[in-house]
């Protein structure tokens, strides 16, 4: 087996504490539209935010898949009134985000995030096609 090559990751699996952390942790991927107005008498410029910050989830350098809450089987099988069996599921902790890099523009940022929030699932529950 070849071992000496440094593996350059393209797929990153991040686990945030909650959805509320999205904008803070991934702030480099958020964009805030602004509007600048000028006081006609003083010339003073005022820049104000327009709308809410939004996640830019796709560029030529990366793609972001906000997986959100993952669910896993409890091991129990439930049966509904039609006799149909289905696995009982339970929510897993955390808020999950997958990032695929296709260019290097955001590599440093994502690798830093990987250090702070990255996980290495043995069998990822969400993958890229």
């Amino acid at each position: 087996m070849i071992e000496e090559t440094e593996v350059i990751k393209t797929d990153f699996y991040l686990k945030l504490a909650s959805e509320a952390d999205m904008e803070t942790v991934l702030h480099d991927f958020y964009k805030q539209d602004t509007e600048t107005t000028v006081d006609e008498e003083t010339g003073e410029e005022t820049t104000t935010n327009v709308g809410d910050p939004y996640l830019v989830s796709n560029t030529s350098d990366y793609a972001i898949d906000v997986v959100g809450t993952l669910h896993e089987p409890t091991g129990n099988t439930l049966t509904d009134e039609d006799g149909m069996e289905y696995p009982e599921m339970q929510a897993m902790t955390g808020w999950h985000v997958n990032i695929r890099l296709t260019g290097d523009a955001m590599r440093d940022t994502v690798e830093t995030l990987d250090t702070s929030h990255g996980v290495t699932p043995e069998a990822p529950m969400r993958v890229w096609l």
Partner: protein
């Protein structure tokens, strides 16, 4: 041994008629502004025009204007700047992973891609053992000197490249390259796992001869991994040692070859896709849709939305009652024998076939789809969209004999269905879809069964269907198939960006050439100019405008204009210590025609402003944007000339799938936007009561003008053909050959000369053709263009 095809092609290309040329870059035959992939067709056209005479215009011309930009995704022909070019040069495509499409044979396949990086840079592949490589060293199969020569100096020599991505156990990959050698008769190659060892025993030894042959090795991923090493030479577990000598290698590539295989790269007509630092996933050019009789090339399949198949095993179905499912019982839409035979078996109402369960957010609309083909019985299929009880289910029926959807039952319990449909995909197969939600439950487990008739819940005991490829995705329409095996899978969003340099933004053309500004070069004085809160002086043959107050400094000059005519203002700002810009006003004291405040700048800038006059006198003002007393700017080469107004026209056709989202931008066919104040856009809106109103919009300096029409109805693969014309005095659109009523209120065309255009910005469907002219086609022209 010689290659007879190559000999034939070389001969033909060396002996073309004098009016025909072969473009080795596009690999097409060009004649009379037409381009052909095959010599046979090109020669037919040559004979036709020889007999009937040459035409100076191409087949893309409208109203005697040939478009400078043509993207003909159906004919695989691309033109920018009036010259034929390649797809990759014409438009920038991005998608961060795989996608599926339908090829000309009607099979569901992978879009063209290459998982193997550095495909033409074998010198960048690391090496083990003794040997070397020289790239661009040997004559390749296409006659170019682009093949690499590998010198194998040891029995354990190998070169390898790491490929990161999604490698799931069960995936089938083909690893391939061209090879020839005068000194060795066999080449070993294979893969190693990137992180796991489960894929380390995959290798092959294939014969090599002195003629070029495409060496191919198909293998199955044995263990899921996030990367693989692709190896040329003796792979570690391979017991066969290398033969020593030289071998020539060309175009190594690796691609998914399960489903129906991979569609060929439209640029080369074969499976090779060039790569550099990362895997490449090409646009889905040549996507076919079944029209009930044949598979029709609809151009490029473009899906701007990312979609996730929430089903973790898309081709695994289970049963309830005594119904049965039997895997691998028929040929699926991929051409593989992996369709599942679903036999309702008996009339018991407890019998059914379960679609795979999936998790959703309660209240979120999802589209559930799968492929089905009737085998036996009455040909009616019932689909119960449900969560986990007979109360929470909505019943729907499909007629597989006629390919029509049947009855939609009442929404049941917490479930609701907003749409459902059936699409003929050929060979007796249909793709069914149901758009529904459950306001309370998070696990959905719909089921199907063969029904006795429409709107009948009694089972057809003789009913048998083949089923394949279940998909559940958040969204209101079904998207292209996303196969899954063990996890949910996301197909990334894709973009098509036309670089500004490829767009034919019109260049203003002077009419009389008469200069309307007196003394715009300031060679010796400031005659003709008046200061306001400013002193004017000449500084090295430039006008110096110095503030005498803290705001409102300006100078102005009036000149004669003709109302309704178009004029071009140009002027060079040599920046001093305050922002500068140009205003245009009606008359000496009239209202503004063009307010340049938002264009103000503190750097040297050449301004270019187009405006339509509204009176017989117009004034331009060179403005110092506030500042202090003593602040200044310098100006030179200030000019105003009448011009023929810059106009442009756009045409686009294809098919779209969309639902009623209630938003203004449900579909955005194209988006050519500089900023929040300047752009040209074509939207389809479902806002309010509309279910397909098209809006052609142009905005210049914050002034928005549009024309619109309620043109389309929501649906799957809805055909559209639209065209629009834009100018400083008008905007109009046309839908399927019928022009709207022109809006003549615009006073300016936005300056988009340096702005990229997003094609299919919000778009799920196919684009057949996109054309642009830097001319006004007129209303008759856009009617012809959209026909």
């Amino acid at each position: 041994m010689s290659n007879p095809t190559k000999i034939y092609n070389d001969y033909v290309r060396a002996n073309l008629p004098s009016t025909m040329t072969f473009d080795s870059t596009t690999v097409r035959y060009d004649i009379n502004n037409h381009s052909f992939f095959k010599f046979k067709k090109s020669n037919w056209y040559f004979k036709y025009i020889t007999k009937f005479g040459y035409a100076s215009l191409s087949a893309y011309a409208v109203n005697n204007f040939d478009p400078d930009l043509v993207f003909d995704f159906k004919q695989n022909y691309y033109r920018t700047g009036g010259t034929a070019t390649t797809l990759s040069s014409a438009v920038t495509h991005a998608r961060a992973g795989q996608a599926t499409m339908v090829d000309s044979d009607g099979l569901l396949k992978w879009a063209p891609h290459n998982l193997l990086t550095r495909s033409e840079e074998l010198n960048l592949w690391p090496q083990i053992g003794t040997g070397s490589v020289v790239v661009d060293n040997a004559v390749a199969p296409d006659g170019t000197t682009t093949a690499a020569t590998l010198t194998i100096g040891s029995t354990n020599f190998l070169r390898y490249i790491l490929s990161s991505g999604t490698y799931t156990a069960g995936d089938i990959i083909t690893y391939s390259f061209w090879a020839r050698s005068d000194t060795v008769t066999s080449i070993g190659f294979g893969i190693n796992g990137g992180a796991s060892t489960g894929n380390n025993a995959i290798y092959a030894n294939l014969a090599v001869t002195s003629t070029w042959n495409l060496v191919e090795f198909e293998f199955t991923i044995l263990e899921t991994d996030a990367s693989l090493y692709y190896i040329i030479g003796k792979q570690g577990d391979n017991p066969v040692n290398n033969q020593l000598g030289d071998i020539e290698i060309w175009h190594p590539h690796a691609y998914r070859s399960d489903l129906g295989g991979m569609v060929n790269n439209s640029a080369t007509g074969n499976s090779y896709v060039p790569t550099t630092s990362s895997a490449v996933y090409l646009p889905r050019v040549g996507h076919h849709i079944y029209n009930g009789d044949a598979w029709v090339n609809e151009g490029v399949l473009h899906e701007s939305e990312a979609r996730t198949n929430l089903v973790t095993e898309s081709n695994v179905f289970t049963v309830v009652g005594s119904s049965t499912v039997t895997a691998n019982s028929g040929v699926s839409p991929t051409g593989e024998t992996n369709a599942v035979l679903a036999d309702t078996v008996a009339s018991s109402n407890s019998n059914a076939i379960l679609l795979p369960t999936y998790n959703v957010t309660a209240g979120t609309s999802c589209t559930v789809s799968f492929y089905v083909k009737n085998v036996a019985g009455n040909g009616f299929l019932a689909f119960f969209f449900r969560s986990n009880s007979p109360t929470n289910q909505t019943k729907l029926w499909f007629n597989l004999n006629t390919g029509e959807k049947g009855t939609q039952g009442a929404n049941g319990g917490t479930t609701s269905v907003s749409d459902f449909g059936i699409t003929d995909v050929g060979n007796g197969w249909y793709r069914l879809f149901v758009v529904g939600a459950d306001s309370n439950q998070t696990i959905l487990n719909s089921f199907i069964f063969s029904a006795l008739s429409d709107n009948n819940s009694n089972r057809d005991g003789n009913g048998e269907v083949l089923i394949y490829g279940a998909q559940a995705e958040a969204g209101l329409t079904p998207s292209s198939y996303i196969p899954t095996s063990g996890s949910t899978v996301t197909r990334a969003a894709e973009t098509l960006t036309v670089p500004a340099a490829n767009l034919p933004y019109p260049t203003p053309v002077e009419t009389t050439g008469t200069e309307l500004v007196t003394n715009g070069t300031f060679d010796s004085n400031t005659n003709g100019w008046t200061g306001f809160n400013a002193t004017l002086s000449v500084d090295s043959n430039r006008l110096k405008v110095t503030n005498t107050a803290s705001f409102g400094q300006a100078i102005a000059q009036t000149f004669t204009t003709v109302s309704g005519k178009t004029y071009l203002v140009t002027g060079d700002l040599i920046a001093g210590n305050v922002d500068g810009y140009i205003n245009v006003n009606e008359g000496q004291y009239g209202s503004g025609i063009f307010n340049g405040t938002s264009d103000r700048t503190s750097t040297d800038t050449s301004f270019s402003i187009t405006f339509k006059a509204v009176s017989h006198i117009t004034k331009i003002t060179l403005v110092n944007f506030f500042g202090s007393i003593g602040d200044f700017n310098l100006w030179d080469n200030v000019s105003v000339k009448e011009i023929n107004p810059p106009d442009l026209s756009i045409q686009m056709d294809g098919r779209i799938s969309y639902a009623d989202t209630g938003s203004f931008g449900t579909v955005r066919l194209f988006d050519w936007t500089l900023d929040s104040n300047n752009g040209i856009i074509a939207n389809i809106t479902t806002e309010g009561s509309f279910d397909g109103q098209i809006y052609f919009t142009q905005e210049a300096a914050g002034v928005v003008d549009n024309v619109n029409s309620d043109a389309f109805n929501i649906g799957i693969n809805v055909p559209f053909n639209i065209a629009s014309r834009h100018g400083s005095g008008f905007i109009n659109g046309s839908i399927s050959g019928t022009a709207l009523t022109a809006n003549t209120t615009p006073s300016a065309l936005p300056d988009l000369s340096s702005t990229n255009l997003d094609l299919g910005k919000i778009f799920m469907g196919t684009i057949a053709q996109f054309r642009m002219w830097n001319e006004d086609l007129t209303d008759a022209g856009i009617e012809e263009a959209s026909t």
